[in-house]
Amino acid sequence: MTGYKRALTKTYHQPLGDKLWRNFVIGIPYFWLLLFFLAPFAIVFKISFASPIVAQPPFTPLFDFSSNASQWLLATWDNYRFLTEDNLYWVSYFKSIKIAAISTLICLLIGYPMAYGIARATPTTRNILLMLVILPFWTSFLLRVYAWMGLLGKNGIVNSLLMNVGLIDSPLQMLYTDMAVYLGIVYTYIPFMILPLYATLEKMDLSLHDAAADLGAKPWQTFIDVTLPLSIPGIVAGSLLVFIPAIGEYVIPALLGGIDSLMIGRTLYDEFFVNRDWPLASAVATILLIIVVIPIMLFQRSQQEQE
């Protein structure tokens, strides 16, 4: 091999250090997911096949290899079977999905015009408006939910205002209703809808709007034909960012909802901390994960196929 050829082949092989470094950088997010998502989930998944006992920890091991054991495999489907038998769980799953879905829709309906307005504002006003969207994050989430309790309560600001004006004679029941839950979720999560929508709308090529108008589309037709279809990635991202945390939301229904507003997060909490039935609670959590993850995976696959 001549020196020239050797020099050529050499450049085609990456130095070992580079390769290691690249794998290391790529590895960090995987390591993060492994440590903080997969490992905890594996533990929860494991517990969901155990039986509850009064002990520390409050569940049985899955395997027993001691000599006096009647059988070595203690894992059981009982928790999952129980979930199908007691319709309390199905009611809470269904209610969670319903509340999360409706909240997501409301967020979209309110957030889209807001994101559109921000994206079309002049750069200075745009920054101010974005700041206003993000600003609530600077106060504690819990504090903001408590503030809503103060607003919506029997002697809260809204009720006293309406009574003073004379629109109502007795205070309205607003706190501890589903409406309060919707209000809380929409209020809390709407920035997650606005920001990805803003990102897609802001980078949209405005000459496409001109082109549609030029070809005879009235402003509303331009919106339906061009703006809306091109903002679908933002709509999807925003909806997922609202829907996923909303479905497992615990604090908002616990503080603002009535006793009957059984969302799955609340049921989960009750199983863990009130009933101390960790295995059943783990089963509830596992099913919740499947309900949330599978539609997302299916959706992403269909998106990739479209590409």
Binding site: D205, D210, A211, D214, L215, G216, Q221, L230
Partner: protein
């Protein structure tokens, strides 16, 4: 084959274009722009502009970036509202007509092809908005795609197309509505050189065959020269000169226009005498004292300072003193030369120290350079090539 057939079917029996409608006093302008201005906050983008464009013209508005040409085009399309003035197209005042109702279509600089629609859907979009029957849309889209040679790509999405193909989608989409006027914003800017030349001719042919009035905006003087029936040179929101490509190239009104089109040599000169009858003047070039004659329609008097402009390709370069009548002759030395194959460009330093650019056809076959660096040469040109500019 199909394309040719289609073109023949659409070819008008009589040519649409009267050769020079702008010289015909009876001709009615198709597009009339009267006192049009556009102000953005404090910035006057278009400044009280008047313009007549005739039916079937391929009219080009030429200018550097920020000269107001795009704003003017956007006002024609209806995307910007004029601050003052009037736009009349085919006798109808456009003031109260929104963009989506104007008989105008536009090909955008970025093409603005809808990325989520197929080629077919893009081209058919305008007809769909006109609520035409599906069958008719389908046939017209098919015909149009054949005309721009995109039939095979009908089902493709734009991101699978090359720049040239996207450009043709944009063109087809704008033409399919048979607009009275087609606006083209930098139609060739995004194409590479070869494709640009080819597309240029395709555009001209299409324009002739369809008889649609084209208004082109460009910063590329070559594009403007080859495409247009007439050119308007624009600077700082105003038209500096409007004329045929040969007019603006050969008889520029001022230094700006002269300089904008290609290269040109400027000489400072002092008027010696004038002959108003024959519309000629004699002048002396500063420093060298070379005397020259020039034709001019402007009124000058003796001892006026003027600029004489001469194009590089009008100048001959030779080692012997040329003989002949009506020649302007000056001397210099070759300072730089560039050999382009078909022609050579010489930078000659005249006796006054000024660099004069000369472009000469290499019309003899020779493997050796005819002139070398530092050769003493005579520069000569026909006096009719002298252009007198007042500024």
């Amino acid at each position: 084959m199909n394309k040719k057939h289609l073109m023949e079917a659409q070819r008008p029996t009589k040519p649409y274009v009267a050769e020079t409608p702008w010289l015909d006093l009876e001709a009615k302008p198709f597009i009339q722009i009267k006192g049009l201005s556009k102000k953005f906050d404090t910035f006057l983008a278009v400044d009280n502009v008047d313009l007549d464009i005739y039916k079937g013209e391929l009219f080009t508005i030429l200018g550097g970036s920020g000269c107001g040409k795009s704003t003017l085009l956007r006002m024609l399309a209806g995307f910007e509202t004029p601050s003052a003035g009037q736009i009349i197209i085919d006798g109808v005042d456009m003031a109260s007509i929104p963009a989506y109702d104007r008989p105008i279509n536009m090909m955008f600089q970025s093409y603005a092809v809808f990325p989520h629609m197929t080629v077919e859907q893009n081209v058919g979009y305008g007809l769909k908005k006109d609520k035409l029957a599906k069958a008719e849309i389908a046939t017209r889209v098919k015909d149009m795609l054949e005309l721009v040679q995109l039939s095979e790509l009908a089902k493709r999405k734009p991101h699978h197309l090359s720049g040239g193909q996207r450009q043709r989608v944009a063109l087809a989409r704008a033409l399919i509505k048979k607009p009275k006027v087609l606006l083209l914003d930098e139609p060739l800017a995004a194409l590479d050189k070869k494709l640009r030349e080819q597309t240029q001719f395709e555009l001209m042919n299409l324009q002739y065959e369809l008889g649609i009035t084209f208004v082109v905006v460009t910063h590329d003087q070559e594009e403007a020269m080859t495409l247009s029936t007439r050119v308007a040179v624009m600077d700082a929101g105003k038209f500096i000169q409007i004329g045929t490509p040969t007019q603006v190239y050969e008889s520029p009104h001022n230094r700006f226009v002269a300089d904008f089109f290609g290269t040109i040599n400027f000489f400072n000169a002092t008027v010696l005498s004038t002959d108003p009858e024959a519309q000629t003047l004699t002048a002396q070039l500063e420093k060298t004292g070379t005397q020259l004659e020039a034709k001019t329609e402007g009124s000058f008097s003796a001892s006026d300072e003027v600029t004489i402009a001469v194009r590089p390709e009008k100048i001959s370069v030779s080692q012997e003193r040329p003989e002949g009548d009506n020649l302007t002759i000056t001397k210099g030395t070759v300072e730089d030369l560039a050999y382009y194959g078909n022609r050579s460009v010489y930078r000659v330093r005249s006796q006054s120290g000024r660099i004069i650019q000369v472009s000469a056809q290499n019309n003899q076959r020779s493997e050796q350079l005819v002139l070398e660096w530092d050769d003493a040469v005579y520069l000569s040109w026909n006096s009719s090539c002298n252009v007198v500019l007042s500024e």
